[in-house]
């Protein structure tokens, strides 16, 4: 089994108590499914299906795609209702770099903040300096460099970006494989090669050296973006994801309750094909899905924030 101690931020507050409880909550979510919800009713369905947390947002990613416009932090009224309705942790999204939205969500006392590329970025260069908050943050990453930059800024959890709202797992797979193989490569390198590698990755040297030693991120590594079926969840788990986020995949399917339960089952029993088979029995139609190769650059969410 894996060996991991939840400390080491690559920043000045390495191992501080605040950091430990932030990464600690991320540890508690391992092995579970975090579901996107847009109202209290959906949150209840998610909790009843066995979700380990819910993500409150205004519109699920596939609707954001369809409807366009600026996607922002969800309405406070809705987040509050969701917080009142379920006992599992409630996460909510802020726009990349929008530290004022983040402060609002911290004041609201959500349990986790997702600084997310799914919303319209507020800052095209800078992310939120997440060390300043008591509430933990999760951020998306497409590769190890992005992951380590976000951790250096104070993210207590990393998730693949995938391509949200596409119902297509290909980008999540690409991102998870990239992160895992880049970490593996670091473990094979000599000390004197790590500075150059840190430069190539655009990542802080101390974190690069840490990965070279442990072969793992210092925070939990989850997967998100395009996961629509139980087998999709099992796939990303097998590739190294310690838990999964499911967005449009549940509430844009023909059978949200059954699908939510099935994805939870497959995520837990990801190594047991029979259990994943059982999870697939009696499921209706998955969300329609988009071919990422046919999409235009401007429609891709995963390229936001790097």
């Amino acid at each position: 089994m894996e060996v991991k101690k939840p400390n080491g931020s690559g920043n000045g507050n390495k191992g501080s108590n605040e950091w430990r409880v932030k990464v600690g909550l991320a540890e508690m979510l391992k092995g579970g499914v975090i579901m996107d919800v847009t109202n209290a009713e959906q949150a209840k369905i998610a909790e009843n299906a066995g979700a380990c947390a819910v993500m409150a947002l205004e519109r699920v990613p596939s609707d954001i795609r369809k409807e366009g416009g600026v996607a922002r932090m969800a309405s406070i009224k809705v987040i509050r209702e969701i917080m009142k309705t379920v006992t599992i942790p409630v996460m909510a999204k802020v726009r990349i770099g929008h530290f004022a939205e983040a402060e609002v969500l911290q004041a609201l006392e959500v349990d986790f903040i997702d600084e997310s590329e799914v919303l319209t970025p507020a800052d095209e260069e800078n992310h939120v300096w997440k060390h300043d908050y008591r509430v933990p943050f999760v951020c998306g990453a497409r590769n190890l460099g992005e992951a380590l930059r976000r951790i250096a800024e104070g993210a207590a959890m990393i998730r693949t970006k995938g391509e949200a709202g596409s119902g297509n797992v290909v980008e999540a797979v690409r991102h998870m494989r990239a992160i895992v193989s880049q970490m593996k490569k670091l473990t094979t390198m000599r000390d004197d090669e790590l500075m150059h590698e840190a430069k190539e990755l655009g990542a802080p040297l101390d974190l690069v050296r840490q990965i070279a030693k442990t072969g793992k991120l210092p925070v939990p590594n989850f997967s998100a973006g395009g996961i629509a079926t139980p087998a999709d969840a099992a796939l990303v788990r097998r590739l190294g994801a310690e838990a999964v986020f499911v967005g449009s995949g549940i509430f844009k399917s023909s059978d949200p309750e059954a699908r939510a339960k099935a994805v939870v089952k497959a995520t837990t029993h990801f190594e047991d094909a029979k259990a994943v088979l059982e999870a697939h029995e009696e499921l209706g139609e998955a969300m329609r899905g988009l071919d990422v190769r046919q999409m235009e650059e401007k429609d891709l969410l995963s390229t936001r924030g790097s």
């Binding site: 979510l29 092995g31 006992t87 599992i88 006392e109 349990d111 986790f112 837990t268 047991d272």
Partner: protein, 207 residues
């Protein structure tokens, strides 16, 4: 490595920080096994119910037939240690809100009693297991509001029981697996190693 006969500890690996428990137990020389099905529990001397979300874990235990199996394991004298969500699963009475449980420890537990994540903290409190205070990591932690007769309090925080034991069952409202202090896990390994003598009984079912 401390010397003792090799003890095999199952860790409920449904959801939560089962990996952190495994790391600590392996550091102490114990064998560990991830438990996801009733069969996984067969040859274990002890079982850890890790932190995580108790609602998520409970649903899984009930649906996979593991709940009954764990209760039988306890009645046979198998040692069980629940941390945080695991303590909630063991408690006879669960409040805020009410929730079913395995009913293996006569105590009343209030879920998320300190508030939301922003109230999570690292603190310390007195323990009978060693001379210095015990470091305690609370993450959306519960509070043991009532400990029944025969429940030993091994550590306290803010005047409330934080680590309790009754015969072969132990429960903590905090996360010893997220610290570098192995005291609590060593105690549990001793309990598992010498177990099978004092099965948990006498906890009357409320249902």
């Amino acid at each position: 490595m401390p010397e003792r006969k090799e003890v095999k500890i199952g860790i409920l690996a449904v959801q939560g920080d089962f990996g952190a428990h495994a790391a600590m137990l392996e550091q102490l020389g114990a064998k560990t096994a991830e438990v996801r099905t009733p069969a996984d529990l067969e040859d274990c001397d002890g079982l850890i119910l890790p932190g995580g979300e108790s609602t998520t874990q409970l649903k899984f235990l009930q649906e996979e037939g593991l709940a009954d199996k764990i209760v039988k394991f306890a009645k046979r004298g198998g040692a069980i240690f629940g941390t945080c969500a695991g303590a909630i699963l063991l408690a006879k009475d669960v409040k805020h809100p009410q929730q079913d449980s395995l009913n293996l420890m006569d105590m009343t537990v209030v879920r998320n009693a300190y508030g939301r994540q922003i109230a999570s903290d690292v603190v310390s409190g007195p323990t009978t297991l060693k001379n210095e205070p015990l470091e305690m990591v609370f993450i959306r932690g519960p509070v043991i509001e009532r400990a029944g007769p025969g429940v030993k309090v091994l550590a306290k925080y803010a005047g409330k029981p934080a680590l309790v034991q009754r015969e072969n069952i132990m429960a903590a409202t905090f996360h010893p697996e997220l610290t570098d202090d192995t005291t609590v896990h060593e105690y549990f390994l001793r309990l598992a190693g010498t177990g099978a003598k004092q099965p948990a009984n006498g906890v009357k079912s409320s249902s």
